[in-house]
């Protein structure tokens, strides 16, 4: 229940009317931009598609820019959260639910019924919304647009426009500005433009967003993808090697030095959308302990699923090669099991004390993966893996995890579950980075002595649903695998209690009974027993 009483009888929240006239005009401009897209969806025959597409995207971006300038530039710099729990759209009100339904429907059509967006089947020309984007696609890569091109453009537009809004909102905070500039850059350059140019250079190369790392891009080691890379000579081979380096070398080093934030809130596209367009929904993530429990089960299950699925896929096409290649099925499965065992043994050896109860769960998880892989190896034929087809496993993953979880639920439910529900509950990449962040990283959120007043601004603004206050009010640093290091808890803290930093591993996790500021004898008695 909102503490604010709605005195009017209207369905819409009366606060929506509290925006200025300029903001109303800005909303109008943005809506016109969206309306042109709707017209295109219904096959309106625009005289000059390129012009109208420019108008439409320009109006959307312009509307957001105008709205944000009016919202933030007329006020002094500072925290701008007034009314987020009163506004219908950001507090699961009617507007929030409506937006959720629209987004979810869009994702369902995008993933499963692209023909309704106008995708031309069997070589026919595109029509509708997808056809509307043809001019831009021709300009960039010379080919017709696809539903993924349309999605990519809209995604990039959202990150750029709302990224600008976020930068204005935090114009007193350089960490937030640089971080947002970074996700805007990586989305526009790495996810959108570079793959288009790579296609222009060599149109046999599979789509490769260089910043997307396995297991987030779960398809990179699929047969078609690997074949695509290998068939394009040195550049393809280099890209494939870069993919391997990304997950096995680059990622562990950067995560050790900076925590998983280097990826999740500075580079990643999913994170980029969540931090910009999703910013208004960050307070909606559940901080209950029960949600945390669910999170740990779900995300690690997805990770196990993605590891087993990828191994099964690679395994299946290794058989198709003639076995004259050194990487045979036997060698491959031994390498995988060996690698997992080394990781598991190292964790158990170095971190046994820290893990406590979780160690048992980790051991069970490890055993399950190994067992599955061995069963696969000894029962497997080219057709049957785990007694079901490997390709079935792969398409199940693509459907349930790749499409439904990350897209339909992950983004469609922004206004209901908060802006990071995919990152928090489902992303296998986040699980790997988080595992390392919790155990082998210099990153932590430092709590400033005894200064916490338990107000709860930090927990409220945590998009990952971490109850930051629970740590801060105990004077304890926050070292959680799920933390993406967005830094908003630190920004909204009214007493300067939280600081994201990279420091030594020593004393990183520091639970205390009595906080700094009290009797030193009492602190000695209780904190050092």
């Amino acid at each position: 229940m909102s503490n604010k009483i709605n005195n009017s009888m209207s369905l819409a929240n009366p606060d929506a009317l509290n925006i200025t006239n300029k903001q109303k005009i800005a909303l109008g401009i943005g809506t016109i931009g969206l309306f042109i897209l709707v017209l295109a969806l219904f096959n309106t025959d625009f005289p000059n598609k390129g012009l109208f597409l420019t108008l439409s995207l320009g109006a959307i971006i312009g509307g957001v820019i105008l709205y944000s300038r009016e919202a933030y530039l007329n006020k002094l710099e500072g925290i701008k959260n007034d009314g987020v729990w009163f506004k219908s759209i950001s507090s699961r009100g009617i507007l929030g639910w409506m937006l959720g339904v629209v987004l979810t429907s869009f994702y369902i059509v995008l993933y499963f019924f692209p023909k309704y967006l106008g995708l031309g089947a069997n070589g026919e020309a595109n029509s509708g919304l997808i056809g509307f984007f043809d001019p831009l696609s021709h300009l960039l890569s010379g080919r017709d647009a696809s539903q993924w091109f349309v999605y990519g453009v809209l995604y990039t537009v959202a990150i750029l426009a709302f990224g600008y809004k976020f930068i204005l909102k935090y114009r007193h905070n350089r960490y937030q500005q640089l971080r947002t500039g970074s996700v805007m850059f990586f989305q526009l350059g790495f996810a959108f433009l570079i793959p288009e140019f790579m296609y222009v250079m060599n149109n046999d190369l599979p789509y490769y967003d260089l910043k997307s790392v396995w297991p987030l891009n779960y398809y990179i080691f699929d047969a078609w993808s690997v074949k695509g890379f290998l068939s394009t000579g040195n550049i393809g081979l280099a890209l494939l090697l870069f993919g391997l380096l990304s997950i096995f070398v680059i990622t562990p080093i950067l995560t050790y030095k900076y925590g998983k934030r280097w990826y999740c809130s500075w580079v990643c596209g999913c994170g980029g959308l969540a931090e910009t367009a999703g910013d208004s929904f960050r307070q909606l993530s559940s901080k209950k302990v029960s949600a945390w429990k669910l999170e740990r089960w779900l995300i690690h299950t997805v990770l196990v699923f993605s590891v087993v699925m990828t191994v099964a896929m690679v395994y299946s096409y290794l058989g198709v090669e003639k076995n004259d290649f050194w990487l045979t099925r036997g060698v491959f499965i031994s390498l995988v099991i060996g690698f997992l065992t080394v990781v598991f043994a190292a964790v158990m050896y170095f971190k046994r004390q820290e893990l406590g109860k979780d160690a048992k769960m980790g051991a069970i998880g490890y055993a399950v993966v190994i067992a599955l892989l061995l069963i696969m190896h000894f029962t497997g034929t080219t057709e049957q893996l785990f007694f079901i087809k490997g390709s079935t496993l792969r398409s199940a993953y693509g459907l349930y995890i790749g499409s439904i979880f990350s897209g339909v639920i992950g983004t469609g439910f922004y206004p209901i579950l908060g802006n990071r529900s995919w990152c928090r509950f489902g992303c296998p990449m986040a699980a790997i980075l988080g595992f390392q962040q919790r155990l082998f990283s210099k990153f932590r959120i430092t709590t400033n002595g005894g200064q916490c007043i338990s107000c709860g601004n930090c927990s409220n603004s945590c998009e990952m649903g971490i109850d930051v206050r629970a740590y801060a009010q105990k004077g304890e640093n926050i070292v959680r695998s799920s933390c993406v290091g967005c830094g908003v808890c630190s920004a909204v803290c009214p007493r300067g209690v939280l600081k994201l930093e990279n420091d030594t591993m020593e004393g990183r996790i520091n639970p205390t009974e009595v906080l700094l500021g009290n009797d030193v004898d009492l602190m000695d008695l209780l904190n050092k027993k």
């Binding site: 909102s2 503490n3 604010k4 009483i5 005195n7 509290n18 002094l76 710099e77 500072g78 925290i79 959260n81 007034d82 009314g83 987020v84 729990w85 009163f86 506004k87 905070n173 350089r174 960490y175 307070q283 209950k288 302990v289 430092t446 400033n448 002595g449 005894g450 200064q451 007043i453 338990s454 107000c455 709860g456 601004n457 927990s459 409220n460 206050r469 629970a470 009010q473 830094g487 630190s490 920004a491 909204v492 009214p494 007493r495 300067g496 600081k499 994201l500 930093e501 009974e513 009595v514 906080l515 700094l516 500021g517 009290n518 009797d519 030193v520 004898d521 009492l522 602190m523 008695l525």
Partner: protein, 434 residues
């Protein structure tokens, strides 16, 4: 099993209960008439501003209390019978205790102003005050202007709250500069300007004469003592400090002054009855501290200490170095050690003051005139590390050391501009001109 009854579910009482539970199996009951569950009083303002909902101000989920076997009793204590160790509630029921802890906090001061009990006049302390404000000031159409009386921490918070809903605010401050009984003048004047930049009508050296009623017993306007000016308004916030909330024990035989009198073990004059937090009054002030400390942190510390005593490890309340914090609209404030205002500082206390040209950041460092020993720091708009200053004060560092090592104490977010070299330069220049 010994039964510990705690009256008050604020930070003091709840910290005490948590620590007793950690150390013992005693039966614990927390009594409150205000709310069902513990909430952070300092966060009430954010509920009105829409940053949070009320439930977000509750640091523990509702199952926490049952799981930790801490019983919660909702009700107001009317009378304490210390002979039979019985609490009498306004509803007529009673509760037996073995040990009693009074942790009832504060209530807003009222100084006998005419009209101070009219409808629309309120403090900003209890949850009920928040509900009252929501009723009388839901928006700028219902509340065309609000007047706040009293220039302290709660006053400026209330101004920020009303400002968030675009309600015009007139802010009456008795002193000739905001909170200058506590802050040195350079800081206090910077905050004056910041308040005005937020379009709050700040009236310094201005007192309230009376609050005028309309025909329905509601606030219509206020009249200013000095000028006789009448300011029409719909809400009056009385934020001229707080006093211990202890009316219910006046006849109980428990020794009281302004608050509940306690010794260094937080014991009252009656065995098995203790008092902690805002409502406790030390017989003699501890160091530079006030006998009554109405501060979140000290309430928590008293809870931590008393839990030891109650669990059989008798300990004095011996707080460490002073620290505090607040936020004035957009400017954060932290203090470590002692920095006194121009009015209250002693003869040996010298100040070094630095202010950024943007007028939102400044520091004041206090040191001993003769020994050059560092005494304390106030910092505005720059976050600093509690742990570092606590250590420097313990180590009796001198001013030169502190100024040279200031970067070690910086706690601002990454990529923020740093001002330590500029501060050091100003400090060195000042030494040369003296």
């Amino acid at each position: 099993m010994e039964h510990i009854a705690i009256i008050g579910n604020g930070i003091s009482g709840v910290t005490l209960a948590r620590h007793i539970r950690k150390n013992s199996d005693k039966k614990i009951t927390i009594i409150s008439g205000e709310t069902d569950f513990f909430f952070s009083r300092t966060a009430l303002m954010y509920v009105y501003m829409g940053h949070m909902k009320f439930e977000h101000t509750q640091p523990y989920e509702d199952w926490f209390w049952k799981k930790n076997r801490i019983e919660l009793k909702k009700g107001f204590v009317k009378q304490v019978d210390t002979e039979t160790k019985t609490l009498h509630f306004t509803e007529g029921d009673t509760l037996q205790y073995d040990k009693l802890v009074i942790a009832t906090g504060s209530k807003p001061n009222k100084f006998g102003w005419p009209g101070q009990d009219l409808e629309g006049v309120m403090g900003m302390y209890h949850k009920q005050d928040l509900e009252n404000l929501e009723k009388h000031a839901p928006n700028k159409e219902v509340c065309k202007r609000a007047v706040i009386v009293g220039g302290g921490l709660i006053g400026i918070e209330m101004a920020e709250m009303l400002n968030s809903r675009s309600i015009p605010v007139t802010f009456l401050v008795r002193e000739n500069s905001f909170w200058n009984g506590v802050l040195p003048s350079g800081e206090s004047e910077m905050i004056n300007r910041h308040i005005k930049n937020h379009h709050i009508d700040l009236r310094l050296s201005t007192n309230l004469k009376e609050i005028v009623s309309d025909e329905n017993g509601k606030v219509k306007s206020i009249i200013i003592e000095e000028t006789g000016e009448e300011i029409p308004c719909n809400v009056v916030g009385l934020t001229a400090g707080v006093a211990p909330n202890i009316d219910f024990i006046r006849d109980s035989g428990i020794d009281i002054g302004r608050g509940v009198k306690v010794n260094r073990f937080l014991e009252t004059n009656i065995p098995d009855i203790y008092a902690i937090g805002d409502c406790a009054e030390q017989h003699e002030a501890i160091g530079n501290r006030r006998p009554i400390e109405a501060v979140w942190y000290t309430g928590r510390m008293m809870g931590e200490v008393l839990a030891q005593t109650i669990c059989g490890n008798k300990m004095e309340y011996k707080p460490g170095h002073w620290f505090n914090s607040a936020k004035f609209l957009d400017i954060e404030y932290q203090t470590y050690g002692w920095v006194f205002s121009d009015r209250n500082k002693s003869e040996h206390e010298q100040h070094f003051h630095w202010k950024h040209t943007d007028d939102t950041k400044c520091i004041t460092v206090a040191y001993h005139k003769d020994t050059n020993t560092f005494l304390g720091i106030n910092t505005f708009g720059i976050r600093m590390r509690h742990e570092v200053f606590d250590r420097w004060i313990t180590e009796n560092r001198d001013m030169d050391y502190v100024m040279k090592n200031l970067p070690e104490a910086n706690f601002d977010p990454e990529f923020y501009s740093h001002f330590e070299s500029e501060i050091l330069k100003a400090y060195t220049n000042q030494l040369q001109t003296v």
